[in-house]
Symmetry: C2
Subunit: 156 residues, 2 copies
């Protein structure tokens, strides 16, 4: 638990507060403060996927799921730079996508949607999908998934 | 599946498109378009809880969970009017709360946080909690929970 105002609001294993002691991942209540630029205190920006592939210019923040939380779902924030896209893929697990920053295009099966702030997209199991940003501003969105899920199959 | 632009973007059992035919709940991909006022096409505003209790001036929109979705989680949007609050309660299931509209106060165990836009709060199992709006504007937030969850115990 955090003891004073100088400590960060949220941490993971690698986080060292002022006293230099590492704070372990624990299944405890925590606030992840938004830093006003679509990043969060205590949450590091990650690569979208470990392996390179058909995706481009997309970053991931794992907000809920890396800190020993027991919830049956994970919450991530993705941001696609202008011209970028996620993988074109399919899997058995569902996605819930919430538009947060700018706008983007979501291709789901044979449909194509423009997504803006607070539009919510449910992607059903096995639906081929891809998110794209053909616009001039970053496209940021939350994506909620089951914590236990199958590996995506990349489509061509 | 939706056939033309006149059909609503999203529906549930009670929804009648232009041709008067009811669209059944199906586990299919769907977009719930934000109507720019913290409500969504095809999603009805509900009472916070069926039973009256210690809560006041709070409304619920069930965004994901009422349309035959198979995801292991539900997504709801709650809005607390000025002076209102949620129940003070505890349960075994986790909450993930995402600040969206205005600001509010979250009491979790022995801590008290002010939440604003995109602040993210993880509430661990069995942590007593309550959300309150002592401010002059509505306080709106998403709350993600496991689809299978225990019933809350109301605290006094």
């Amino acid at each position: 638990m955090l003891k004073n105002k100088k400590s960060p609001v949220a941490c993971d294993w690698k986080c060292k507060p002022d006293n230099g002691r590492e704070i372990p991942a624990e299944n405890i209540s925590r606030l992840y403060r938004h830093k006003k630029d679509f990043s969060w205190q205590g949450i590091e920006k990650e690569k979208y996927k470990k392996e390179d592939g058909d995706w481009a210019d997309i970053a991931r923040h794992t907000l809920i799921g890396n800190h020993a939380e027991t919830a049956g779902f994970h919450l991530r924030y993705f941001e696609i730079a202008p011209g970028g896209c996620s993988s074109f893929e399919t899997h058995k697990h569902e996605h819930v996508v919430i538009g947060i920053r700018g706008k983007g295009i979501c291709v789901v099966s044979n449909k194509r949607y423009q997504m803006r702030f607070l539009d919510i997209l449910y992607i059903a199991p096995d639906a081929p999908h891809q998110l794209r940003n053909p616009f001039k501003e970053p496209f940021g969105f939350f994506c909620v998934v089951n914590s236990k899920r199958d590996k995506p199959k990349i489509l061509k």
